[in-house]
């Protein structure tokens, strides 16, 4: 789910940058550090604007100036139990991977309804019931996120399509 969140970031500025361009340098540093980052629980997609840059405080001992910058950003945070749409990126024999924005969700065979069976046609593996529902690379699927694990810089998730109204979307 996308949110517009006010976040804070602490930036250290080396004394060689103290000057007229200090605020421009701080903004550069902020964008470089935070935009596109993955904190393990959420992804910062884009910074909207900067609310406030605090007065600098010199760090005793090192001479760096410390700024607390408060900014608004579009963040994406998945929740356990949330229903999301995604595109299938690969199919393996015990499930398939779905790309939901920057997150790759794995749907295992246990979380796929019985009717959808793993079949390989030519070189294309897919899960299909032979009639109208097919899940293959490039299909759009609606799934429910069942579990999320986060480490610094990465998120892993598992999902399920074994419920009403979930599964491949009609194109």
């Amino acid at each position: 789910m996308f949110f517009v969140k006010v976040l804070e970031h602490r930036i250290h500025l080396h004394p060689s940058f103290f000057g007229a361009q200090a605020s421009a340098y701080i903004l550069d540093q902020l964008y470089r550090d935070r935009e596109g980052s993955n904190t393990g629980t959420m992804m910062i997609v884009a910074i909207i604007d900067v609310d406030d840059i605090s007065e600098p405080k010199i760090v005793p001992g090192s001479g760096y100036a410390e700024y607390d910058v408060s900014f608004r950003a579009i963040v994406w945070r998945p929740f356990r139990g949330e229903v999301v749409d995604g595109m299938v990126s690969s199919v393996v024999n015990n499930g398939f991977f779905v790309d939901v924005g920057g997150l790759s969700v794995f749907v295992s065979k246990a979380m796929i309804p019985q009717q959808l069976k793993y079949t390989v046609e030519g070189a294309t593996p897919s899960f299909t019931d032979g009639v109208d529902q097919t899940v293959e690379r490039g299909s759009q699927v609606r799934l429910r996120i069942k579990g999320i694990r986060g480490e610094m810089g990465q998120m892993f998730a598992i999902g399920s399509i074994r419920e009403d109204y979930l599964g491949p979307l009609l194109q």
Partner: protein, 147 residues
């Protein structure tokens, strides 16, 4: 540890997530409770505006590129004016006790029936009557872009 090495963190430690956040029949959103949420279409419009504004609008990071592709593909409403109309319809729901999360989910998932909406967003169970929910869903589907 797997993954790219992260430089010694210079920012203050973020509060550890409690780990029990979930969006099932009960919404426990941790520090995202009361944060305005965006549906996929709204996010698409906002990202486009930020990119067009110039300056630092776009970035080359993986997260940004994949998110832009994702919202372009899955936005149910392509036109910014339509998105504003959907926002107006679903904002009426905030006054009826829905949270930001539920409102954004309804605008993103575009359900056809109250049953589908309640199944996909379990926390809606007791918050709206069937007729109210059906009315909102009908209004939203009328604005859908099937191109």
């Amino acid at each position: 540890m797997a993954g790219p090495t992260v430089p010694q963190s210079l920012s203050r430690r973020r509060p550890a997530p409690t780990g029990d956040e979930e969006a099932t029949a009960v919404l426990k959103l941790g520090d995202m409770t009361d944060t305005p949420a965006l549906s996929v279409a709204e996010c698409k419009v906002l990202l486009e505006q930020l990119a067009n504004k110039g300056g630092r609008g776009t970035s080359n990071s993986d997260v940004y590129t994949k998110t832009r592709e994702y919202v372009d593909m899955f936005a149910r409403f392509k036109d910014p004016k339509t998105v504003t109309q959907v926002d107006a319809i679903s904002s009426g729901l905030l006054a009826k006790g829905l949270t930001h999360f539920e409102r954004a989910q309804l605008a993103t998932l575009c359900c056809d029936s109250p049953d589908e909406a309640r199944t996909l967003v379990p926390s809606l169970e007791t918050k709206l009557s069937d007729e109210e929910l059906q009315d909102v869903l009908n209004d939203i589907s009328k604005l859908r872009d099937f191109s």
